[in-house]
Amino acid sequence: MEQDVLLEVKNVTKEFPGVTALSDVSIKIKRGEIHGLCGENGAGKSTLMKILCGVYPHGSYSGDIIYNGKVLRLGAGSIHQAIEEGIAIVYQELTLIPLMTVGENIFLGKEPRTGVGIDWNKLYSDTDELLKRYKLPVSPHEVVKNLGVGQMQMTEIAKALSEKADVLILDEPTSALSEAEVDKLMEILATLKSLGVTCIYISHKLEEFFRITDTVSVLRDGKVVTTLPTKDTSLEKLVQLMVGREMKERFPKGNRKPGEVFFTVEGLRALDPNDPSREIVKGASFELRKGEILGIAGLMGSGRTELVTTIFGEYGILTGGKITLDGQEIKIGSAREAMSHGISLVPEDRKRQGLVLIQTILQNISLPNLDRFSGFMRINGSAEIAEAEKFSKSLSIKAPSVHVAAESLSGGNQQKVVISKWLMSEPRILILDDPTRGIDVGAKFEIYKLINQLAEAGYSIIMISSELEEVLGMADRVMVMWEGRSNGTLDIAQATQEKVMARATGIEIA
């Protein structure tokens, strides 16, 4: 029997300056089903969800969203409007206020009132009823910070459902959950389904689709590859659909001859500094040769960034494993020590971690390198300017001068400033954490060329990327991370997207 369609995405195209995030996407979501949405990082899943819940308002994209038979027109800044229409989203990052109770969080901004005051009795009895109806095992009076991640998630779901949601969007709900918590979530989703709630389920963990979804849509490069009933597909098929695209000449080919292994990481283990009960790196090993590009692939949350920032001495609490440089074991306890060993890190988030945005290009580039311009006290300002200008020129940073603020530059040029800053420190190993994130296509190519040049010049590069294609296009070897551990290193000759994806999702274990 043909179920009726509750929500239809019809020929939606969404463009950002320089990038087409979604191109002619059409998906039909049937009433009462759980519809899975999968795709690589950057395939356009988040953009689509942001359109559905009004972050990108009607008119900022072409095509239509048809909801309950009518075209959905959400105004700008109208996340609330989407909720009123019955579309609710549970975000990847939890958005609860830690010091408030479950009830207070659920009714935040829509507290029942008695005149001017809040009707606490009604608030808590409503919360209780809501939690019972959806069989969510959370106490209304519990303070959120005392909850486990799974229970927080349930609170988020209850909050989303508190306004008669017809469609519930779950954006990677299991990325921070334990096995048991995932099982619990699956039960809850089944309950919701039996109560007639339609769900859109986004996840990187493909096996979950087979546990819970009725239909799966695969997105790739902003396009819908296919939509098919989950029972008609398999894990291997999904992986293939996610990555299966021809390689275009998007990556400049370098001409380099990697040398000897001089840097190794063996069985590194580390704890989360903010929550030492959680292990974030659970055994990572790799070797690095002179003048090579080592790619690190892995899905979001696989511990890639945690691994490299720990190596750089600025994140995890080391509990095991060893790092050797030139055959000697080294200990790195801070960025400064890493620098003294010739290790530099271009961090993941250039605005938050890489740059002091209000300062000039000059000040940013020289920040880690002021020692080399300083005598006992004085900084040789002229030498500093001359050196910064040299880098600005050789990396062709587009700016009127080195005296303009970093915040005025485009993403690609900002990234070049961060790279300059670390090149000036004359590293042997340059770690690039997702260096092309949020950079448009043209600028990406320039960054790729630069990375190749650096490797040819003898720098050893460790490059993390969220885009599989980018890792395969650039690296000599690919180390794959899965759930905090290294799941083998593949030579580029034998690394295919399917193989890497199989390692990254733990289907294949080294």
């Binding site: 750089f312 600025e314 801070s334 960025a335 400064r336 890493a338 620098m339 890190l345 961090p347 938050r352 971690q353 890489g354 740059l355 002091v356 945005l357 209000i358 300062q359 000040q363 920040l367 880690p368 002021l370 020692d371 300083s374 006290m377 004085r378 900084i379 300002g381 002229s382 030498a383 300017i385 001359a386 200008e389 800053k421």
Partner: protein, 406 residues
């Protein structure tokens, strides 16, 4: 060439707007009350602002790193009563006299020892507060709020409720009350002028060596020349050259003003030309980026509060010398004037932005308003209200100017 000058001026409009405001305030009060522009008043106003301005030189760095120091008022007060107590109870003088010193030597050595001990104590205060903030990670607001209560108690404990008069040591009082002989003023002015121009040409030569594009020579010379003219104008006025028969006792540059100038120049230099200063701005601008750039944040923050302590000590020493005694209310509320001076001078409370020069001008504006209102016989109870409104207005103007630019 004039166009070029105007162009450069427009680019730096934000740094000059304060000076323009200052000139407007002086002209306004000057027209309403000619005594405002008298040599007497010009000599006084810089002395009066010095105690606040010296601390503002340190506070700029504190605020730039995203911190605050609420304790500096009572801290300076505490140091002032410590110095006064040492002199009042002859704690230094007596042992020195026992060692056989007498007369002028005794007085001078006593003063020097008192200054060293006082500033030493204030550095310890800085070390204490700096450690709590940098190592124990207690927020600066809380730490220095606590400090404020602690040093207030310190003032009361040392004074025991009475004023401790510094009656016997004029050398000590010279720090805040003394005037340098006119010829010393001229010598300083000559030296500073020569150094300013030498530095200008040396810096251009160095830039040329590194192939850096130079700013217009005319602009740089005229800028330096303007400073030189202001400097000479001040020295000539306070040396009473323009008066028919000046009284010798009022001629000369106040010692305290020279002290302030030296501190301001050093701190200004430190802010842009040393790692200490550059790290402070980077930490305030983006702490995370600074950390990942290998900056030892704890060390930086610690040393900034120690410096703040030292400057607070110098202010405290000057305060005792200025009042001529250690009083029970010493330093109370000064912290607010210091913070206001920095903010008026363009220091951002969000951190990462601010200049020493701006803070000095800010302090001068606050003092100019106070004095002007006083001379116009405005009800003194109204003065704080007017200063408060000016502060809010200035920051609002700055914010809206920035918005327009963006």
């Amino acid at each position: 060439m004039l166009n070029q000058l105007l162009g450069t001026f427009k680019k730096n409009i934000r740094s000059y707007i304060l000076i323009i405001a200052l000139v407007v305030i002086w002209m306004g009060f000057g027209i309403a009350q000619p005594a405002y522009l008298s040599a007497d008043h010009i000599q006084n106003i810089f002395t009066q602002m010095a105690i606040i301005a010296i601390m503002a030189c340190g506070m700029v760095f504190v605020i730039v790193t995203g911190g605050i120091d609420l304790s500096c008022g009572y801290g300076a007060g505490f140091i002032s009563v410590v110095a006064a107590a040492l002199l009042y109870y002859q704690k230094i003088e007596n042992p020195l006299a026992a060692m056989g010193m007498s007369g002028m030597t005794l007085e001078v050595v006593t003063a020097i020892v008192v200054v060293i001990i006082s500033v030493g104590v204030s550095i310890l205060i800085g070390v204490f507060q700096g450690s709590v903030i940098a190592i124990l990670a207690v927020p600066p607001f809380i730490t220095t709020l606590g400090g404020m209560f602690i040093w207030k108690s310190g003032v009361l404990l040392v004074t025991q409720g009475k004023s401790l008069f510094i009656s016997k040591n004029d050398t000590y009082k010279f720090i805040a009350q003394g005037l340098l002989p006119p010829f010393v003023g001229y010598v300083i002015a000559v030296i500073v002028t020569v150094i300013m121009f030498l530095m200008l040409f040396q810096s251009r030569a160095r830039k040329q060596k590194y192939g850096i594009q130079l700013k217009s020579l005319a602009w740089e010379i005229s800028r330096t020349a303007i400073f030189a003219v202001l400097l000479w104008g001040y020295v000539l006025i306070v040396n009473r050259v323009f008066e028919a028969s000046p009284e010798p006792s009022v001629q000369g540059v106040p010692f305290l003003v020279v002290l302030l100038a030296v501190i301001a120049l050093v701190m200004n230099y430190v802010s842009t030309n040393t790692r200490y200063g550059r790290y402070a701005y980077a930490i305030g601008g983006n702490r995370e980026a600074a950390r990942l750039s290998g900056i030892n944040i704890k060390k930086s923050i610690f040393s900034i509060y120690v410096t703040m302590g030292a400057l607070m000590g110098i202010s405290g020493v000057a305060l005792a010398a200025y009042v001529g005694s250690g009083t029970t209310g010493a330093g109370g509320g000064y912290e607010l004037d210091v913070i206001a001076s920095c903010i008026l001078g363009g220091t951002s409370t969000l951190g990462g932005e601010g200049t020493v020069f701006g803070a000095i001008v800010g302090a001068l504006i606050m003092q100019s308003l106070s004095n002007g209102l006083q001379m116009m016989n405005v009800n003194s109870n109204l003065q704080y209200m007017i200063k408060g409104l000016v502060l809010i207005l200035a920051v609002w103007a700055d914010i809206s100017m920035k918005k327009k630019k963006a």
